[in-house]
Symmetry: none
Subunit: 200 residues, 4 copies
């Protein structure tokens, strides 16, 4: 009996993964319950059985997507003590190729656009950036204290980094089939370091 109950989260996760795939392959407007269900070989009403509403399901998808960033971000810092090294890892991560490939751009920005009309989704996004900002501020503060970077307002610097990394994702997602965008990430990382006053 206990075993059966425990399968619900597993099943929901499964559904969310398929939802995400359909979203990537077909776009949000075509990511219908029917399409997701047929991809899974189940009946659409089973999805409703687990999420009760498509809206709630979208809400959970957003969380599922956003969690990916945190799940990839934090473990990388485990065991690293040196502030300079930690900052480098972070910058390498967010301006590297892996960060962007975590979530498909089309899926990501579709969900982001929903946040303008759906408060719950909005809050999920906001929470994610609050967390990211807190982490950055903490790291920058440590770096300042240790003299790794120039003195400055860590909150403003964090906002600068976030703006730049999101803009980079956005810009690259659009243009990467036209130009060589491999190196732009590296360039932007150098710019950030220069702004921070971190010798390269």
């Amino acid at each position: 009996m206990a075993r059966k109950k425990d399968r619900a989260p597993v099943r929901k996760r499964e559904i969310l993964e398929n939802f995400y795939q359909v979203l990537v392959e077909e776009g949000l407007e075509r990511a219908s319950l029917a399409r997701i269900a047929s991809r899974m070989g189940i009946h659409p009403s089973l999805i409703i059985h687990y999420f009760s509403t498509k809206e709630k399901m979208v809400g959970e998808l957003v969380q599922y997507i956003l969690e990916r960033y945190q799940e990839t971000f934090l473990p990388q810092l485990d065991g690293i003590k040196n502030p300079r090294e930690r900052l480098s890892v972070i910058l390498n991560s967010v301006f590297g190729t892996e960060w962007m490939s975590l979530v498909d751009g089309g899926a990501f920005f579709s969900c982001y656009a929903l946040s303008y009309r759906n408060q719950q989704i909005r809050e999920s996004f906001q929470k994610m950036y609050y967390t990211l900002r807190e982490i950055l501020v903490e790291e920058l503060r440590n770096c300042i204290r240790e003299g790794v970077i120039r003195d400055g307002d860590p909150e403003k610097l964090a906002d600068f980094i976030i703006s730049l990394l999101e803009g980079y994702d956005y810009y690259r997602g659009l243009m990467e089939d036209c130009e060589n965008f491999e190196e732009l990430g590296g360039y932007l990382k150098e710019v950030v370091k220069r702004v921070l006053g971190m010798e390269v």
Copy 2:
């Protein structure tokens, strides 16, 4: 008869304006022909009559939206000769409040997300950024030549500016109801100037 035919573009423009409004107020998934038509007090099939397909209509909407940027951007530089002044006008523009208010974020990013699956829309966006980049490169080159900013790669710098300005729009669109984002634009502008080596 020729005169009568000329009214078609006017009517199409009208429809696009209403489409945009519905998109802003109700979101892309609810911006149906029926909704647009009822807002205009006309019959849905009349919209088809002008655009033949919803997809084409969306394509034209994207162009209509993207034109707004160029239409606001370029006239501001008219008559200004001084490279330093021109660069200042540009930076004030893109990191000011007006730039973001040109197009509703929800509408903008909905369309952007479409570009991942719709080649025509993708090209519209790309073309817009190509143009923007060309303008920036040109301006930066002039500034370098005149010694207004430090020597450097104008293309990379342009990409940096574009990344930062789009990231700023993105970030602000999400967080402006939480924090004071009025000053972040100003701060980012200063950062850009510092990176360019332009004395503030």
Copy 3:
């Protein structure tokens, strides 16, 4: 062009007739748009095209059903001047077999039950009985004036007649397959006449 516009009411009437038939044959809970449409050989969405909502359609069905009574009732009195004769025609009508056969009992009481939860339907029913009562009061008043019936309160008498005729329809609709209900109508008519003080 004018001809095309005029076909809408005809089509709506057609749909209502089919709706009524399905309602009679299958019951309200099974009278779905799909069932009505398939009976007509058309597409369900065409019904929505004409009525926009099932609820509105049900509202119009109720009016359509209730009109039947008035349409049968009033013409019978045309050309009859004598108050006694008019009253006889009325009583013969409502306690006769024809009155009940105008509308199927299952359909009628299904709609009546809706009136407890749907204000518009309720008002349709109420309006119908107001009209019926007005007619009865007027006729009774004339009969009193002419000495055809005993003096009395015509409004109370009208309410009595309405209660009795509806109770008769109700009771008969339920029991007619058990007992001989042919004569009950006649008996009740005599009771009414006795109560009115009208020599039989």
Copy 4:
């Protein structure tokens, strides 16, 4: 074990009470197993477990509803010997306010309408009126024998009384929010007495 099995009727009664409440509050078309179950905080399939079919459950609901009348009616006559008094109690009961308030009109007529298509339900209703008629006939016969009322056909009179009381319930259920229907019951009771030849 035997004791445990005995709790089933209690549970069924509980479910029927909740079914009735949903029926009153939301109407027959919305009185689904899911709605009833969620109201009770149980799982829909538990209802199936007890009734095996919704249809059977509706059948039992009808009996549950109709029993209410008998349960209120008969006890009132207990201990009363005098035929005139007994008849008065009956008439006061059925033309008073309490009779109608026993069962919600919307619920009652919804079930009645089902009787046109569901034989089991039809028989439940018929049985109830047979019983009611038998009681009335018996009482009227006694009254005739004792000279309390005029001589006459007790079966016809019973049918008259039933017709009138049901018509009164029907009419009042519809119109009570418009007019003063408090006194109509009293008036109809007097009419009945007059028809019976019972001095008032």
